[in-house]
C-alpha cells in the first residue's frame, strides 16, 4: 500500500502540468457543486424565513372532541348523535403543568401561550373584522417579530393597550395613542389604546391582526381559565416535523408542525432542491468522466512501464492500486481545493437572513463542503477503476517486445 502510494504520487508529480489541469478540472466541478448547494440552500432558507419566519413552528392545541355517537338503549336501529355545541371552545386547561418543561426543551427557542378569537375592531362608524391574539406582554415578539416590525409606537402591552397591523390601522384611519373598541365573538366589548402599529409584510397579519395582553384577551373572550393554544418557535424550523410528535407524546395534546399548513411552499422548495441536485449530479458526472479519461490516457502512455513492473513481479493488485490511488489523490486534492475556493468566494455574501431585499440569498454555511469532497473522492476512485483494470491487464510480453 505504501509503495503503491509512492508510485501514484510519483506519477502525478512527474507530469505537473497535466496533473494541475486535472486537479483544476475537479476543483471547478466541486466549486460548482458548492456554489449550487449554497445558492439553492440559501434561496430555500430565504424563502422559508420570509414566509414562515413569523409564524409558529409547532402549535399545541386541544384535540377536537368529536360528537358522541350513541345507540338508543331500547332500539338498536336508531343512532343518536350529540351535536357539537356551536359555542363550544377547545381549551387547554393543563398548560401550566407542562409549560416550564416545554420552555427548557433543547431546540426550543420560545414558547408563547395564547388566547385567540375573532371579533371586530370599531372606530367610529368603521368596523373591520379582526383576529385577536392574547399574548404574555413579555413574549409579544416570541413568535412574530412584532418589535422588529414596528411601523409606529412601541411593542409594550398593558391590559388596556393593543397592537394593530399597519394596514388595518390605515383602513380604519387610526394611529398610535388613539382609542379603538374591540368586540369579541362572545359579545364582550372593550376600549383599548393603540400602543403600536406593526408591518410584518404578511398581508394576513398586517390587515387583520391585533395583539392584546393575555389578561385582556381572557376578559374579552370570557375565558376564566385555560388558554387556546401554545405556539412554539424552534431554533431550527426544519426540525418541526420531528419535534411535533415528541411534543404531542409529552403533552398528550395535538401538536401541529408548520409544514402541515405550507405544503405548496414545501413542494416548491423540494422542486428547487431537486433542480439543484440535478446540476450537482451533472458536475459530479463531469468530474468522473474527466478523471477516467485522463487516467485512461495515462494508462496508455505508461503501458511499457506497467509491463516491466508486471515482469518484475508486480501483482495485478499493485498496478490497480497505483491507478486507483492516483484517482483518489486527484479527487481529494481537487475536492479540497474546489471546496476551499467555494468557501472563500461565497463567504463575503451576506447570509440569507441578513440579505437585503432583491439581494443574492447565498448561504455559505450550506455549501455542503464535506459532502462535495467525499462524493468527489469516491467518484474519482470509481472513475479510476476502469483505467486501473485496463492497466492491470497489460501483457508484459507485448510491451517488452515492442
Amino acid at each position: 500500500m505504501i509503495y503503491s502510494v509512492k508510485f501514484a504520487w510519483r506519477y502525478l508529480s512527474s507530469n505537473k502540468l497535466q496533473t494541475a489541469l486535472l486537479v483544476l478540472g475537479v476543483a471547478v466541478g466541486v466549486f460548482v457543486f458548492v456554489f449550487i448547494s449554497a445558492l439553492i440552500g440559501g434561496l430555500g432558507s430565504f424563502l422559508v424565513d420570509r414566509t414562515v419566519g413569523n409564524i409558529s413552528h409547532v402549535t399545541i392545541e386541544a384535540p377536537r372532541r368529536d360528537p358522541a355517537s350513541l345507540l338508543a338503549p331500547d332500539d338498536p336501529s336508531i343512532q343518536l348523535v350529540t351535536q357539537r355545541a356551536a359555542g363550544q371552545r377547545d381549551i387547554l386547561r393543563t398548560a401550566d403543568a407542562f409549560l416550564p418543561s416545554l420552555e427548557t426543551l433543547p431546540g426550543v427557542a420560545a414558547v408563547s401561550p395564547q388566547i385567540v378569537g375573532n371579533g371586530f375592531v370599531i372606530r367610529g362608524q368603521s368596523r373591520a373584522p379582526v383576529a385577536v391574539t392574547g399574548v404574555l406582554p413579555s413574549r409579544v415578539s416570541a413568535i412574530a417579530d412584532i418589535e422588529g416590525s414596528l411601523a409606529a409606537g412601541e411593542a409594550g402591552l398593558t391590559n388596556s393597550t393593543v397592537l394593530l397591523g399597519a394596514t388595518l390601522a390605515s383602513d380604519l384611519g387610526v394611529g398610535v395613542g388613539q382609542n379603538i373598541r374591540l368586540q369579541s365573538d362572545r359579545g364582550v366589548e372593550r376600549t383599548f389604546v393603540v400602543a403600536g402599529l406593526f408591518a410584518l409584510g404578511v398581508e394576513a397579519l398586517d390587515a387583520r391582526a391585533a395583539f392584546v395582553s393575555l389578561a385582556a384577551a381572557r376578559s374579552l373572550f370570557d375565558l376564566e381559565q385555560g388558554i387556546s393554544r401554545i405556539e412554539i418557535k424552534l431554533v431550527d424550523l426544519q426540525t418541526a416535523d420531528a419535534f411535533a410528535p415528541r411534543i404531542a407524546a409529552m403533552t398528550g395534546l395535538k401538536a401541529t408542525p408548520w409544514t402541515e399548513g405550507n405544503t405548496q411552499l414545501l413542494e416548491g422548495l423540494r422542486a428547487q432542491a431537486n433542480s439543484g441536485d440535478l446540476i450537482k449530479g451533472f458536475a459530479l458526472v463531469t468530474i468522473v468522466i474527466g478523471v477516467a479519461s485522463a487516467l485512461l490516457l495515462s494508462t496508455y502512455r505508461r503501458r511499457p512501464e506497467i509491463g516491466i513492473m508486471r515482469a518484475m513481479g508486480a501483482s495485478r493488485g499493485f498496478v490497480v492500486g497505483v491507478f486507483v490511488i492516483q484517482g483518489a489523490l486527484i479527487g481529494l486534492i481537487g475536492g479540497v481545493s474546489g471546496a476551499l475556493a467555494g468557501y472563500l468566494v461565497l463567504s463575503p455574501f451576506p447570509l440569507p437572513e441578513d440579505a437585503p431585499p432583491g439581494g443574492f440569498p447565498i448561504d455559505a454555511r450550506q455549501g455542503a463542503y464535506l459532502l462535495a469532497v467525499t462524493l468527489t473522492t469516491i467518484g474519482a476512485i470509481l472513475a479510476s477503476i476502469l483505467p486501473a483494470r485496463a492497466a492491470s491487464r497489460v501483457d508484459p510480453v507485448e510491451v517488452i517486445g515492442s
Binding site: M1, I2, Y3, A311, G313, R316
Partner: protein
C-alpha cells in the same frame, strides 16, 4: 542432479486455424545452477518466445516447464508472478527502466514491490549492487540522466536484486557500443562466477556467445545443438 529448469517437448503456437503459426516445435532443453549459457540462432527461430516461457511471462501451448521442481504449466497467474519475482531476473535489450524513478529506486523495485515498501535493508542491497556495477556515484540519478551503458548496468543490478536462481537476458548488449558491451558481459561473467547464478543470454553477438560456457542453438523452433565450452 535435478536441473534448475527443464522444458520438454515445448510447443508454442500463435493464432488459430489457418493463421496459426507454430514458433516452438517440441523444444527440449535444461539449465543447471551456475550455467552461463548463450541462446543463439537466427531471427524468428523462437529464442525470444523461449525466453518468455522460461520467464513465466508466457504459457506454452503444450509440453512441460519445470523450474525448482515446480510445474509452471499448472501454476496460477498469481503463483507465477510471485515465483518470477523471487527466482527470475530479467535483462532486456532496451533496459526498460522506470523513467520517473532514480537508479536506486529502479534496482530496489523487485524487493519493494513484493514487500509493499522500500525497507532500509533493500536500499542497502540496492546500493551495494549499484556499487558493484560501478554506479555508486549515480544512485539518485533518474533513468533519463544515465547513458545507455549505465542504464543497462542498472538493469543488471535490478535483475540481481532478489538473488534470483536464473537471469534471462534478451540481447543485453544489442543496444550498446563495443566497449560497453564488453564491460556488461564481463560483469555478467563475474556475477556468474561469484554467485553461481545461472544466466541464459539470447544474443546474435559472437563475442558474447563465445564468452559463455554453453551455446544452445535454436533453429526453427527446436534446439539443435548444445555445446559446452567452459
Amino acid at each position: 542432479m535435478t536441473a534448475l529448469v527443464e522444458v520438454t517437448d515445448l510447443v508454442k503456437t500463435f493464432g488459430d486455424g489457418e493463421t496459426a503459426t507454430r514458433v516452438l516445435k517440441g523444444l527440449n532443453m535444461a539449465l543447471e545452477r551456475g550455467d552461463l549459457a548463450a541462446l543463439i540462432g537466427p531471427s524468428g527461430s523462437g529464442k525470444s518466445t523461449l525466453l518468455n516461457i522460461l520467464g513465466t511471462l508466457m504459457r506454452p501451448t503444450s509440453g512441460t516447464h519445470v523450474m525448482l521442481d515446480m510445474d509452471m504449466t499448472g501454476a496460477s497467474e498469481a503463483e507465477l508472478t510471485e515465483f518470477r519475482n523471487r527466482h527470475i531476473g530479467f535483462v532486456f535489450q532496451f533496459h526498460h527502466l522506470l523513467p520517473d524513478f532514480s537508479a536506486l529506486e529502479n534496482v530496489v523495485f523487485p524487493t519493494a514491490v513484493a514487500a509493499g515498501w522500500e525497507s532500509g535493508t533493500a536500499r542497502r542491497r540496492g546500493e551495494e549492487l549499484l556499487d558493484r556495477v560501478g554506479l555508486s556515484d549515480r544512485l539518485h540519478f533518474r533513468a533519463s540522466q544515465l547513458s545507455g551503458g549505465q542504464k543497462q548496468r542498472v538493469a543488471i543490478a535490478r535483475a540481481l536484486m532478489n538473488r534470483p536462481d536464473l537471469v534471462l537476458a534478451d540481447e543485453p548488449t544489442g543496444n550498446l557500443d563495443r566497449e560497453s558491451a564488453s564491460r556488461v558481459m564481463a560483469l555478467l561473467k563475474q556475477i556468474n562466477d561469484e554467485e553461481r547464478t545461472a544466466f541464459l543470454i539470447s544474443t546474435h553477438d559472437e563475442m558474447i556467445a563465445g564468452a559463455c560456457t554453453r551455446q544452445i542453438r535454436v533453429v526453427d523452433g527446436a534446439a539443435i545443438s548444445d555445446d559446452v565450452t567452459g
